[in-house]
Symmetry: C2
Subunit: 443 residues, 2 copies
């Protein structure tokens, strides 16, 4: 094959004739000129073909090209300050590689269900490119952060025999005569890993069979879960803060234009994501919510904010609470009873757990849950019993408290909620290439 130039690297070919291989994204024409928007996956460039240069036959053939036809375009790269990429192509020849008849996604508006049904094609749009490239940057940023800070990647298994946080929301599968569940969290395995490697993380898909049709729920989503031996809750919050600031900075550095232009995201709130994040106890957060509730005159909001000590926060509570702050907040010390069995019971206040939730601003709510883990064998055994979990499948987990138990802590960050927050998206369905929800398993 001839050598191909990628649009993302076209600056290096200024003044030269190049061959692009891609697709026709859009075209407008006058009597004597065709303006082709050509995409090759790495970017979009305008190509201009004149009747004079092309001759009537080629000019007519190009004019008949339809959206998403595959094309090879030969032309000279010229500088053009008015065009988004800074360059355009003065076309000499365009060859159709293959046709595209009645491409379903036209520039007009489509409904969400239609677009999700055509997700395999919708991925070609400018907006989806921006979102998924930012997703890539976020995932790479997460891995780079932990790699650069001495964490060892220790993949947790997906197929597990035990239910970490209850069985009602688990997908199960027949596994050579027993039942395996799809992991909801790699947490327990990271505790074993942290005792071996000191600082570890896992990063993979996790699954929840929740019957929730909200804008924040996917049945399959990606989560990173770091875990650190000899770290307590305060160290955990320090790590979270440093990690999140580094991640947001990275996205802003690389994607300011994608955010502003393709996604129309106001980036000022993201620029305010700086250390220190407000840290407040559950008790203080509860008081604040009660104040907001008492101050509101809107009956619906008042009802949605109903709460008393001992209850976990729901979306309405988180939304109202985060409105009071201009950056992520860290709420720690939730009631022990509402948290997972492995959370450390606070020795100074056994009613609460040494855990933390991080709530993103602008109403995005929880993106991180974490905390210190129970390192006392007896208290952990009591917690298993209290949660009515069988002891046998957790014997290996209890072993971590039998052989050199140490304080340790970690957290889980949901990738899709983070992408939604940073991109300013209302719904998580666009934050992952092929979303899986209660009513969607295809394409």
């Amino acid at each position: 094959m001839m050598s191909t130039t990628r649009i993302s690297e076209i600056a290096g070919s200024l003044g030269q004739e190049v061959t692009l291989r891609g697709w026709l994204y859009n075209m407008r024409s006058s009597k004597k000129l065709h303006f082709l928007q050509i995409r090759d996956g790495s970017g979009i460039i305008q190509g201009i073909l004149s009747l004079q240069d092309a001759g009537p036959e080629l000019f007519a053939a190009i004019g008949a090209l339809t959206q998403e036809s595959a094309i090879e375009a030969v032309g000279k790269v010229v500088s053009d300050p008015r065009s988004p990429g800074g360059f355009e192509l003065h076309l000499k020849d365009v060859r159709r590689v293959s046709p595209s008849v009645d491409y379903p996604i036209s520039p007009k508006e489509h409904g969400d269900a239609f677009l999700m049904d055509h997700r395999h094609l919708w991925l070609r749009s400018k907006r989806q490119h921006a979102i998924l490239k930012i997703r890539h940057t976020i995932i790479k940023g997460i891995r780079d952060y932990f790699d650069e800070h001495g964490f060892v990647l220790v993949d947790s298994p997906i197929l597990t025999p035990n239910a970490c946080e209850g069985t009602t929301t688990l997908f199960g599968t027949e596994y050579f005569g027993q039942t395996a569940y799809l992991s909801q969290s790699g947490q327990l395995y990271q505790e074993a890993a942290a005792m071996a490697f000191g600082k570890t993380y896992c990063f993979g898909p996790t699954f929840r069979a929740e019957k929730s049709k909200t804008r924040r729920h996917l049945t399959e989503f990606w989560m990173v879960e770091p875990e650190v031996a000899y770290m307590d809750l305060e160290g955990d919050m320090d790590l979270i803060e440093d990690f999140l600031c580094s991640l947001v900075e990275r996205v802003l550095n690389k994607h300011e234009r994608d955010l502003k232009e393709s996604l129309e995201r106001d980036i000022e709130p993201l620029k305010r994501v700086q250390k220190p994040f407000p840290r407040m106890s559950y008790d203080d957060a509860l008081k604040m919510i009660v104040q907001i509730r008492d101050a509101t005159t809107d009956a619906e909001t008042k009802a949605a904010l109903a709460i008393e000590w001992g209850m976990d926060f729901g979306s309405p509570h988180e939304t109202e609470l985060t409105k009071k702050f201009d950056r992520p907040i860290m709420v720690h010390g939730y009631p022990y009873e509402v948290k997972a069995f492995y959370m450390k019971r606070d020795p100074n206040n056994p009613k609460v757990a040494r855990c933390v939730d991080v709530l993103a601003p602008e109403g995005y709510g929880e993106i991180i849950g974490g905390g210190q883990r129970e390192d006392d064998l007896q208290i952990l055994e009591a917690a298993l019993a209290k949660h009515e979990l069988p002891k046998a499948p957790f014997e290996w987990f209890l072993d971590l408290r039998r052989y050199g138990s140490v304080p340790h802590a970690g957290f889980g960050l949901g990738v899709e909620r983070t992408v939604a927050w940073l991109c300013g998206l209302h719904h998580v369905r666009e934050t992952i290439p092929f979303a899986r929800t209660m009513d969607r398993l295809s394409p």
Copy 2:
């Protein structure tokens, strides 16, 4: 908490007093000296405590410490050319954080099943550290390679409605009234992604419910799958070659000592992994296998090498074939009938597919499968029918041939087989933190 020094960074504290937090890996003692092997997950260092410095009470207490007790050790960092890391610690104080009574894995030999049952503790051993750190380097090396070469990460879904390569080896789960399958390959989705982004990859766990108890099979394993638009089989082989050489070089640069010392891996064969790799057709490979078969006097080998044109190669064929070469070989053009439905039928020879398998040397066999994909709508529809696959779930996949179809190719590399090859391991069970096999789902 007091500041902690990590063993991996101890060179920066030469001559200073530091606090380490970790575990007792091993200890030997004389009347007046304890030699503690202290591990903190980042490395192992020898700490020396003398009776004279410690006094009889502390000296006796330290002497009673058991393997894997959690300890805090305070001491001065001194240079010691004889020790593996180049440093040792002259201990001033050691505090036990928590006990470890009858740690199950002693320095003596244990059986495989016992070690796999104690995988959560076995991870703490030197050998497992070497393997899993090399695994980390391989995974990071794979991602870095594609990130640096303009590929966009587009995660394929795990839960899918369609069976890519037959249903017999699929794990299924009830999905809100329908059946979802755990993905065996992200391939089909990468084809949609490549049409959108030009060059893409996915990297995640994949699943096969195979009733195979071999040293090469896991039910859950990780796979990277790049896909490139406007690339043909030759381009695919060029990419594979460049990618694999870069990966092996990276592992050799970073882990020469782990390979030699912890794993006793002869690294000379790895140094020979250089471009170009031998490329041969299935027909030529078959002839070579037949020659080997005819030349052998061993009846068992002769029987295992039974083959005729049209059959796929099995492990014995791959093993004998790779013995003839000192680097990975690329076998292309397998019989069309034995390959997956999406492989491109060779227009010049419809009996074969434009596919390639990469076989690792030293008897490791297949680590990569890939090739060019069928981009002709009619041929692909015929292939679906021939494989008795229903058309409806693949309509979206056929759409990729309806709207701007282009030549495209890619491959899949199995992480665990690659780790096994580079580390020189006989069995894949040690190449992943928590292996899942037909008869193992825990811990």
